[in-house]
Amino acid sequence: MRHRVVITGMGWVTPLGHDIETAWRHLLAGKSGVAPIRNFDARSFPTTFAAEVKDYRIPPDMITSEKHKNISRATYFVLDAARQAWMQAGLPEPESVSHKPLNPYEIGIYLGSGEGSLDFTAFTRTAIGNWSRESGNLNMVGWGRDALAAFDAQREIEQEPALPINHLSMEFNACGPALNCLTACAASTQALGEATEIIRRGDAKIMISGGTHSMIHPFGVTGFNRLTALSTLNDQPQRACRPFDATRSGFVIGEGAGVLILENLGHALGRQAPILAEVVGYGSSADAYRVTDQHPEGRGAVMAINEALKDAGLTPADIDYINAHGTGTKENDSTETHAIKVAFGEHAANVPISSIKSMMGHLIAAAGAVEAITCVLTIRDQIIPPTANYSVPDPDCDLDYVPNKPRAARVQAVMSNSFGFGGQNDTLIIKRYTP
């Protein structure tokens, strides 16, 4: 028998706000979180804007805590998001470490967190300072000597993608299954799906799950600019991300974290926890096609969608809303549209689809987590957030994208898609909880 899995708490730190209600209000208002980059001087870059987490104040007790001082920006985001989720779920204060009647080994963690950013000054200085123009190579003896003096041990280790889960396990005394996956833009959807499987199987009662990432640093933006994946509409940043629009020209990079408390239904009922929704379906696949492109027919995406439907025991007609991957790149949006048509058949035309990346930007590894939270809020408030910046229809994208204005609707079951570079596809289905 597999256990049912419900969502009992949520939290996020995003470009549109640092708590659930603020950012949700902004999403429904069609507000943009995109602005010129402040994390570093990006004025010479092909893209000079991003969706940054703005005016963020790290909770003061975290800065002074022995456990969490000097950690990465993304790890602070995820600790904060997890605290919000933990509180909403009505779980005991993290400080009361024994947190009776919870068994630490039944509380697990599964995040899709990205790597931290390089120590820019130490990295560039030691490298440039030891470059030998004659040999066209680094002088490694000099580099080693300088690097050992310039880099900081903790700063370096905090870049490891396993560190955010390490900090969460300390914060919440969570000693159950602990994993991090990093499947590019699909990571936190995959984390939520696999965390669900862990509870279904009975290996944990509670999973702290979601993701965090910030690639808004010089080499992160460099990497995506070289791939020509980012929009370069520098004179109108807030209009730059246009999912499904004929004039779309790339995605907008964002940063942030989203965390959900997933819980065994019986356990949640037993402690009278608030039940926000149920995770009912998860599908995962690989394109096995190309490192750079999605399969043109969305082969893997179709498989992930179908697997998720099968897992949930639902049909396309049961899905009331699709939260799209919808990055705003030429390729993704037409491929995703095609995949939805293949998987949904005649129902494709009837299901509202929207991309919050039009306002939130693309949070890379954390994107799936904030999108899953959005799905739960859609069910809670019976209203669908819009796809902003939509004006010119594209013949390749001819479905209902909820353009520019939120829409009140009856929403019982929602689907969230995430597709990663390299061909990883993950789909989640979240449903209103009914006993």
Binding site: I128, G144, E160, N166, L179, C181, A184, G300
Partner: protein, 450 residues
């Protein structure tokens, strides 16, 4: 319930370029740790490492995919080579194998798998950027004080010249995404089932195997390629591990003695590199196609220490808990374990914590072995190689020795000499990431009735 078995092993390690060569090295007590030669490491206090012998990635990928080898960081290359080894060993005529053999399976003992029923789950680390490539681009936009000028990095002052950023290959970023180990392998071998990349340092491969094993048990796949790959033999990797005080600084003159797991004279570990990939398969599927069965996957568990990076529980509690859970999952008692392959981080305080946990677990501690003394610590590849070796030992009924545990800590029964033949029933393989994640896998000798 669907049972899952191991039907193929693949490895690249400091001991050799195949699982077989690596295993022979382990069995004959060879050491793969030596002075670092891939770059001049003489300014580092520890300048020895476990390095993989020279190889050409293009020889391990189908012709049509050779161009893609250019966008593979070393970690990816290692995984691709180990996957080729594993798939051939399991006699799976995947897309890559078919192309190399002219469209037909090499002979009728090979099986052509259904791509949608094959998953791929390969653990990875924090992949280090190629310093020469990046620095060559950065010097084009340098300030006089050797910092990088962001004002010049994106756009050159001179319109005739390309900028620093433009000197990087367009696909530069894709070399360093951790999921590219699984992605390249999935493309080469056309595996379209559930695919993931676990990034939990030394515990990655066991966690990857566990997750993929569950997808097979649930019926979402019949076969999966699982394991892990990483190269820490890189200036950035060596710098990080040096700053964290993890490395033995006293054995540069005697590299083969440097890594001393569970030894009273342990002074720290050494960095390494490699990859291990196993083919795991649903039992009936394996039997129907007449596959060779190395071992059965009987128990899985994972947990976290809840402790800061690199810290150990003085009583070895997390290790004990994860081991107990794996044994319960397998319905096996401590006395049924014939061999223990513990984490062997080769750091005095972690090894001591392990010893406490092990003594608490067993009335009579079973034989203990680890390849760490022979290869060092290859991060995300470490438990992958342990699993490959465990599968080989079960299959051949051979016990391989631990190198450099001359005076075992806390009287642990660490195996000093190979034993062939040796009765092996169940092997418990444990791993600990420095960041606190633990993984336990219980492999058993395959028997028809369970």
């Amino acid at each position: 319930m669907r049972r899952v078995v191991i039907t193929g092993t693949g490895a690249v390690s400091p001991l050799g370029l195949t699982a077989e060569a690596s295993f022979d090295g382990f069995k004959s007590a060879r050491c793969g740790v030596d002075t670092i030669r891939s770059f001049d490491a003489s300014s580092f206090p520890c300048s020895v490492a476990g390095s993989v012998p020279a190889f050409k990635t293009t020889e391990f990928v189908p012709k049509s995919y050779r161009k893609s080898a250019k966008i593979m960081a070393r970690d990816i290359e290692l995984a691709v080579v180990a996957a080729d080894n594993a798939v051939r060993d399991a006699r799976l005529a995947t897309r890559g194998i078919l192309e190399a053999s002219g469209g037909q399976p090499p002979d009728d003992t090979w099986h052509v798998p259904d791509p949608s029923r094959v998953g791929c789950n390969i653990g990875a680390g924090l992949i280090c950027a190629d310093l020469n490539e990046l620095t060559e681009a950065m010097v084009r936009a340098a300030n006089s004080d050797n910092t990088l000028s962001l004002a010049k990095w994106g756009k050159s002052d001179n319109p005739e010249e390309s900028s620093g950023m433009d000197a990087l290959a367009p696909l530069w970023l894709l070399k360093y995404l951790p999921n590219m180990l699984s992605c390249h392998v999935s493309i080469i071998h056309d595996t379209r089932g559930p695919s993931n990349t676990i990034t939990c340092q030394q515990a990655s491969a066991g966690l990857a195997l566990s997750e993929a094993c569950r997808t097979i048990e649930r019926g979402q796949a019949d076969i999966a390629l699982v394991g892990g790959g990483e190269s820490l033999v890189h200036p950035m990797g060596l710098m990080r591990w040096t700053l964290l005080n993890l490395l033995n600084r006293k054995s540069n003159g005697d590299p083969s003695k440097a890594c001393r797991p569970y030894d009273k004279n342990c002074e720290g570990t050494v960095v390494s590199e490699g990859a291990g990939v196993l083919v795991i398969e649903e039992l009936e599927h394996a039997r129907r196609r007449g596959a060779h069965i190395y071992a059965e996957i009987k128990g899985l568990a994972s947990c976290a220490s809840g402790l800061p990076l690199g810290k150990a529980d003085p009583f070895g509690e997390p290790l004990k808990q994860v081991a107990l859970r794996a044994m319960a999952d397998a319905r096996v008692l401590p006395e049924d374990i014939s061999l223990l392959m513990p984490p062997a981080n080769a750091l005095p305080h972690l090894d001591l914590s392990d010893a406490m946990g092990i003594h608490a677990l067993f009335h009579c501690v079973p034989a203990i072995t680890t390849p760490r003394g022979a290869i060092g610590d290859p991060g995300a590849a470490s438990q992958a190689l342990d699993l490959v070796f465990a599968a080989q030992m079960l299959d051949r009924q051979v016990l391989c020795p631990t190198l450099n545990s001359d005076q075992p800590l806390d009287s642990l029964p660490v195996v000093g000499h190979a034993a062939d033949p040796y009765d092996l029933d169940n092997i418990l393989i444990l791993a600990r990431a420095l960041a606190g994640q633990h993984s336990a896998i219980l492999l058993g000798r395959y028997r028809e009735a369970r």
